[in-house]
C-alpha cells in the first residue's frame, strides 16, 4: 500500500473510532434527556467533534469537516450553557452521527453522492440555526461570588460557565488549598482530584498566591459540591489540603459563613504571571514554568493537547495478519505434538538410564512449550475479540429512529454488551440483528393505542440480551408484542404453495413458527416502509448460518416473540468432532453438533424411501455420510447418528466411527476446490494427516432440499 493509501486508511479507521465513541456518548446524552447534563460527557463529545473536524480537514474531506465543524460549534455553545439541551438539539446531534457515518462510508469508497451531500448541508445549516438560538441572558450569578476581579479574570469562559452553573444549582463553593512537594506535585494533585471528584466538581485549578516553602508548591482548587462541609473535610483528611468556603455577596446580605480555614486573603496576582512569583530554588524552575500545562484538571485547556495525541492506546491490526499468525501457531502446535511423540518413543525404546532421563527432560520441555503456545494462541484469540456493545450502540440509535418513523413507542433494553466475540462475527452480526429488531418493531410491537386497549403499557419493550455459554454466545431478541400469528402463517404457507392445506393443518406449532424463515415469506398485510425494504427473516437465517450460528424462534400469541441466536465465540479456532466413515476421517465443527446418538437400525423410518430418524418428538432427515460422499454403502457395524443443527434446521448424520474432539484451525481448500459442496476446508490433525472439515450448513441444506442435490450431482 502506498504511504498515502496507508495514511488514508489510518484516517478512516481513526475517524470511525471517534464516531463510535461519539455515538456511544451521545446515546448517554440522549437517554438522560431533560435531566442534568454531565459536563465531562459533554466535553468528551465536544472533543470528539473537534478532532474529527481536524482530521477530515487534513484529508480534504470537506463535507465531513463542515458538518463536524457545525456540530462542534453547537456543542461548544451547549457546554457553555449558551444553548439548552432541548429535544431538537439532541435529535440533531444524534442525527449528526448517522450522517457523519454515512459520509465516512462514502469517503472510504471514494465516492460522493448528491443525496447525502444535501442531507449533510441541510443538517449543518440546522445546527448553525440552533447554535444561534442563544439562551436568554441571565443575571450574572458570578457577580455575587466573593471573588476578587483578578482571579475572575483568569478563568476561562468555560470555567466561568461552570461556576455559574454551580451557583445556579445552589452548590456550595470552596477554595481548596493544598501544598505539595515539587518533586511529585502532579501525583499529589491527581490524588486530590480523585478524592474530590466523587463529591463534586473541580471547576478550576490555580496556582496559589500563597507561595509554598522552598521545595513546595501550592494550588487553589475552586470546587463546587452539594455535600455538607464536614463530608468535604472528612474527604480531605490525610491530604495536605484545607478547604475554605467562598462566600456570596448577596444584596439581601445573609452574613457569609465564616471561613473554615484561617487564611482568607484575596489573591493579588493573576496566575499566569509566573515571572512575578517568588520562585523556588533553581532546580525547580522548569517545574514551575511547566505548570499551566500540567494543570490538567481544567477540561477546556486540555483540548489542544488531546487533539495532538492519538485518542486511544490501541493499535489497529489488519485481521488477516492475525489470521496468518494464528495459522503459524497452529503449525507450531503440530510440531510440538511431533516433539512430544518423539520424546515418548525415546522413553519407551531405550532401557539405558541416561537416555531415559534425556527423554523425560524433552517431555518436560515440550510441555512448557505447549503451555506457552497455548498462551500465545489465547492472546491472539483475545486480540480478535471485541465487545458486542459496539453493535448494540449502533442498534440503539437505529431503534429510536425506526420507532419514531413507525409511530410506535418503545424502549430498548440492552444487556450483555460486555460479552466479547470475534471481530469478524461482530461485524457480520449487525445486519441480521438489525433485521430481527426491525421485524419486531414492524410486526411485533403493536401501536400504542392497541396496546392500551389490551391492557399493556403504551410503550413496547424490545430487549437484546447476550450471554456467554462456554464457547458459544447466546443472543436473545425479544419483544412483548403481538407474537406470531400462527394461523396466518399456515394460511400464507398454503397460499404460497409451500404446503398443502392438510400439511399446514398438521404442522406442529414449532415448525409452523419456523416457517417465517422461508424465503419471501411475509405475513404483514400492509407493507410498511420498513418491510418494504424487501429484507426478510430468511436473510437473517442465511447470515446467521454463514457464521456457523443457529437461530430459533419462540412465540406466544399476545405475549411476544423471542429469537434465540447461538454463535461460536470465534471462527479462527474451532472445536471439532473427529469422525470416521468407511475408513475416511472427517472433522465436524462442534458448534453444529447438537447431540450424538448411538443408532440402531430399527429406529430408522422411511418416507418415500427417504430415511428419517425420530429424535425427541422431532423427525429428522437421516443422511449417511459414506454413501453421500461416494465411499461405498457404509458398514453394517455399530453406527452413530449426529444431530446437526444450523439455523432452525436439524438433520441426523450417520458415521461409523467417533475419534474424539480436537481444536482445529480450518484452512480453506483454495479456489479450485471451493465449489465442492459439503466441505468447508481442511485441517491438520498433527500426524501429517490432512483431514477435510465438513460444511454443516451445506449438508443440512442439501438434505432439506434434495432437488438441489439432484441438480448438482
Amino acid at each position: 500500500m502506498s504511504d498515502r493509501g496507508r495514511e488514508r486508511s489510518e484516517f478512516l479507521a481513526e475517524s470511525a473510532e471517534i464516531l463510535e465513541t461519539l455515538g456511544r456518548d451521545l446515546l448517554v446524552l440522549d437517554e438522560g434527556r431533560g435531566g442534568e447534563l454531565d459536563p465531562e460527557l459533554l466535553n468528551g463529545i465536544f472533543r470528539g467533534a473537534h478532532s474529527l473536524k481536524g482530521l477530515a480537514g487534513m484529508f480534504g474531506e470537506d463535507r465531513l469537516a463542515t458538518l463536524a465543524h457545525a456540530a462542534e460549534d453547537l456543542l461548544d455553545h451547549l457546554r457553555l450553557g449558551k444553548v439548552e439541551a432541548s429535544d431538537p438539539v439532541v435529535d440533531s446531534l444524534v442525527e449528526v452521527v448517522d450522517v457523519l457515518q454515512a459520509l465516512l462510508a462514502e469517503a472510504s469508497r471514494e465516492e460522493t453522492t448528491g443525496a447525502l451531500g444535501s442531507r449533510a448541508t441541510g443538517l449543518a445549516a440546522r445546527l448553525r440555526g440552533l447554535t444561534q438560538a442563544t439562551a436568554p441572558a441571565q443575571v450574572d450569578l458570578l457577580d455575587q461570588l466573593d471573588l476578587d476581579p483578578a482571579t475572575r479574570k483568569v478563568f476561562t469562559e468555560y470555567e466561568e460557565h461552570r461556576l455559574r452553573e454551580n451557583l445556579r444549582k445552589g452548590m456550595s463553593l470552596y477554595r481548596v488549598r493544598a501544598e505539595f512537594d515539587l518533586s511529585d506535585f502532579d501525583v499529589g494533585l491527581a490524588k486530590l482530584n480523585g478524592q474530590l471528584k466523587p463529591l463534586g466538581e473541580v471547576i478550576s485549578t490555580l496556582p496559589s498566591q500563597r507561595p509554598g516553602d522552598e521545595t513546595g508548591i501550592a494550588f487553589d482548587l475552586i470546587y463546587g459540591t452539594r455535600r455538607p462541609e464536614r463530608e468535604l473535610l472528612a474527604a480531605l483528611e490525610g491530604t495536605p489540603a484545607t478547604a475554605e468556603r467562598l462566600g456570596r455577596l448577596e444584596p439581601a446580605a445573609l452574613a457569609p459563613e465564616p471561613p473554615a480555614a484561617p487564611v482568607g486573603k484575596t489573591p493579588k496576582k493573576p496566575r499566569r504571571a509566573k515571572g512575578a512569583k517568588p520562585l523556588p530554588p533553581a532546580p525547580a524552575v522548569s517545574n514551575v514554568t511547566a505548570l499551566p500545562s500540567s494543570n490538567g484538571a481544567a477540561p477546556a485547556r486540555a483540548d489542544s493537547e488531546a487533539s495532538l495525541r492519538s485518542l486511544t492506546e490501541t493499535v489497529r491490526v489488519d485481521i488477516r495478519r492475525l489470521d496468518s499468525l494464528m495459522n503459524a501457531v497452529g503449525e507450531l502446535l503440530l510440531i510440538k505434538g511431533n516433539l512430544q511423540r518423539l520424546a515418548e518413543s525415546a522413553g519407551h525404546s531405550s532401557a539405558i538410564g541416561p537416555s531415559r532421563a534425556w527423554s523425560q527432560e524433552l517431555t518436560r520441555e515440550s510441555r512448557a512449550l505447549e503451555r506457552k503456545l497455548e498462551e500465545v494462541q489465547e492472546g491472539l484469540l483475545g486480540a480478535r475479540m471485541v465487545p458486542l456493545g459496539q453493535v448494540f450502540e449502533k442498534l440503539a440509535r437505529l431503534v429510536r429512529r425506526l420507532a419514531r418513523d413507525a409511530g410506535k413507542e418503545l424502549e430498548l433494553v440492552l444487556s450483555g454488551g460486555e460479552v466479547e466475540l470475534d471481530k469478524l462475527i461482530v461485524e457480520e452480526l449487525s445486519d441480521p440483528l438489525m433485521h430481527t429488531i426491525r421485524n419486531a418493531i414492524d410486526h411485533g410491537i403493536e401501536a400504542p393505542e392497541v396496546r392500551e386497549a389490551q391492557g399493556k403499557p403504551r410503550k413496547g419493550r424490545i430487549s437484546l440480551r447476550a450471554v456467554q455459554r462456554g464457547n458459544r454466545v447466546l443472543l436473545e431478541v425479544s419483544d412483548d408484542g403481538a407474537g406470531i400469528n400462527e394461523e396466518r402463517v399456515r394460511e400464507v404457507a398454503v397460499q404460497r404453495g409451500l404446503l398443502t392445506a392438510d400439511e399446514a393443518r398438521e404442522l406442529p406449532t414449532r415448525e409452523a413458527q419456523n416457517l417465517i424463515f422461508t424465503p419471501g415469506f411475509s405475513t404483514a398485510r400492509s407493507i410498511s416502509e420498513l418491510s418494504g425494504r424487501g429484507v426478510g427473516l430468511d436473510v437473517v437465517k442465511t447470515n446467521i448460518a454463514s457464521l456457523s450460528g443457529l437461530i430459533d424462534v419462540h412465540s406466544e400469541r399476545g405475549n411476544g416473540t423471542t429469537f434465540e441466536i447461538t454463535l461460536p465465540v470465534t471462527l479462527a479456532i474451532v472445536r471439532a468432532l473427529v469422525v470416521g466413515a468407511e475408513g475416511r476421517t472427517y472433522a465436524i465443527p462442534l458448534s453444529g453438533v447438537l447431540e450424538i446418538l448411538s443408532l440402531s437400525a430399527s429406529e430408522v423410518r422411511t418416507v418415500e424411501r427417504r430415511e428419517l430418524l425420530p429424535v425427541r418428538g422431532r423427525t429428522l432427515p437421516l443422511v449417511r455420510l459414506a454413501p453421500l460422499f461416494g465411499h461405498g454403502p457404509g458398514t453394517t457395524g455399530p453406527l452413530f447418528a449426529l444431530v446437526l443443527g444450523l439455523a432452525q434446521e436439524r438433520i441426523a448424520l450417520v458415521v461409523d466411527q467417533l475419534h474424539g474432539q480436537q481444536d482445529i484451525v480450518v484452512k480453506p481448500l483454495g479456489g479450485r476446490l471451493s465449489h465442492i459442496r459439503g466441505i468447508s476446508g481442511a485441517t491438520d490433525l498433527g500426524n501429517r494427516q490432512t483431514v477435510l472439515v465438513l460444511d454443516v450448513g451445506a449438508l443440512i441444506e442439501d438434505s432439506v432440499a434434495p432437488e438441489w442435490k439432484a441438480e448438482a450431482l
Binding site: H631, K667, L673, A682, T690, L692
Partner: protein, 185 residues
C-alpha cells in the same frame, strides 16, 4: 527452497547446449523479431515413456509425493489434497488428464496402494491464478531452454489431447509442451 534448486540451476541454459560443437546450422528461417524472442525455459518430466515439459516460470517447486487425502465429490482427475508446510494443495493426475490412463492412480484414501508408484515419482507444484495446484509425474528430469527454432506446433491428431501447445525437439530428444492452465482445467 526446493531440494531441486541446485539441480535445476545446473541445467540452466548453457550456450554450448543449443548448438552441438562443430556443427554449423543453416540460418533459421524465422523473423528477426522471433529470433530475439526469449528462449522457452521448461521443466522436463516423464509420464510413462513420454517426455513432457512445463514452463519453468510457473513451477513453484517439486516435492516428494506426500500422503494424500481423498476429496469426495471432486472430478476423477483430482487425486486428493496434500499438505505442503501447512498449505492445502490439490494434486491432479496428469495421466488421466492426458488420457494415458483410464482410472486415477490409487494413492489416496483408506485403500491406497502406493506400490504402483515409481520411486522417482514426484509432484510438481504449479503457480496458477485460480489457486496453486500440483500434478503427479513419474519422474522429473531437467530444465531445457528451447529456442524458437526448436519448437514445432502440435502434431495433427493430438489436438484433442487437451493442453498440448507444441513439440520441442533437439537432436533425438522430444518433449511434449504443455499449457499448465489447460492441463489443470
Amino acid at each position: 527452497m526446493s531440494r531441486f534448486a541446485e539441480q535445476l540451476e545446473r541445467f540452466f541454459y548453457d550456450p554450448q547446449e543449443a548448438l552441438p560443437p562443430g556443427l554449423e546450422l543453416p540460418e533459421p528461417r524465422v523473423q528477426p523479431s522471433a529470433r530475439q524472442a526469449p528462449p522457452d525455459e521448461r521443466l522436463c518430466f516423464r509420464l510413462e515413456n513420454e517426455w513432457y515439459a512445463l514452463p519453468v516460470s510457473l513451477v513453484r517447486e517439486v516435492s516428494r509425493v506426500a500422503p494424500l487425502t481423498e476429496v469426495p465429490r471432486a472430478p476423477a482427475s483430482l487425486l486428493g489434497v496434500m499438505n505442503l508446510r501447512g498449505e492445502v494443495l490439490p494434486v491432479y493426475d496428469l495421466k488421466l488428464r492426458l488420457r494415458l490412463a483410464t482410472r486415477p492412480a490409487p494413492i489416496a484414501g483408506p485403500r491406497a496402494d502406493r506400490t504402483g508408484l515409481p520411486r522417482s515419482a514426484r509432484v510438481i507444484i504449479l503457480r496458477s491464478p485460480r489457486g496453486d495446484a500440483a500434478v503427479l509425474v513419474d519422474a522429473v528430469q531437467d530444465v531445457v531452454r528451447l529456442m524458437p527454432a526448436e519448437v514445432e506446433p502440435p502434431p495433427r491428431g493430438t489436438a484433442e489431447r487437451d493442453g498440448i501447445v507444441g513439440l520441442g525437439r533437439r537432436g533425438d530428444r522430444l518433449w511434449i509442451l504443455l499449457d499448465p492452465e489447460a492441463v489443470l482445467g
